[in-house]
Amino acid sequence: MFNFHYRLERNAMGLVLAIVVVASIGGLIEIAPLFTIDETVEDAPDMRVYTPLELAGRNIYIREGCYACHSQMIRTLRDEVERYGPYSLAVESKYDHPMLWGSKRTGPDIARLGGKYSNEWHVAHLYNPRDLVPESKMPAYRWLMRNALKIGDLGEHLAAMRAVGVPYTDDMIANATADAYGQANPDSAQSAGVTARYGESTNVSLFDGKPETLTEMDAIVAYLQILGRLTDVAQKTEQANVE
């Protein structure tokens, strides 16, 4: 007994192994069961994947660090459910690589923002939040209106998402660029393909109000309008655990 300890601490490798073993078991035991959780998590057969335009918008949301001030995770607390809507279910973020649950609400939770405001409201709000909400602390994101959206490589983005487990079809990957354009230009020839591939209820509209160009504003508004609407399982499930 004594000799074992004595040698352990005289031996640098022993110390290293002890640290690794002691430290990793905690994480392993806690995280491993989460990978079998699919068996118990609620099922959402109607859930669709992000369209290329929404994915591009999500990447802008990440790029600008929006998650630092907005959560996308409504907790199972009564006041949160009343303020923001049905509490978030695990399945709702199953296509979120990475998740954007957030950790701080300098601004409100936006897990169920989609459809709450018009496209025009979002564009004006992002252009200068204080035009609509004088007390707002949110930065003005005017450059989103100026920057053209990069859509040429969206097929590669979809392919990478498929590699980590999101069920994009070959058809979706091949038409990613056209679909991004079509979703923000309802009158264009490409718009029909979007609803064909992503469903009739896909939000196809002139998000930034300008038909000629595809801006980053188009993408971010398309993303904000899909928040909480990839599936309506939360609306249909009884919210049993509100505390």
């Binding site: 007994m1 004594f2 300890h5 004595y6 002691v22 078991i25 905690g26 035991i29 806690e30 491993a32 069961p33 079998t36 959780i37 068996e39 118990t40």
Partner: protein, 57 residues
């Protein structure tokens, strides 16, 4: 696969407890083992000794 969710969580919940207890007992025995006292005292004093600031040859 027999590793369904309930099995894995059940193992995590029970094993975790025993692991914690065994770990605590082991560490306390080691720290308070009488024969270890001398080297611990030596280690504690070693850093404040007045030896010159250079490596052992």
């Amino acid at each position: 696969m027999s590793f369904d969710h309930d099995t894995v969580t059940g193992f995590a919940k029970s094993f975790g407890l025993f692991y914690l207890i065994a770990m605590s007992i082991g560490v306390i025995i080691y720290a308070y083992w009488p024969a270890n006292r001398k080297q611990f005292d030596h280690a504690a004093h070693s850093i404040i000794s007045d030896d010159e600031d250079r490596p052992c040859p």
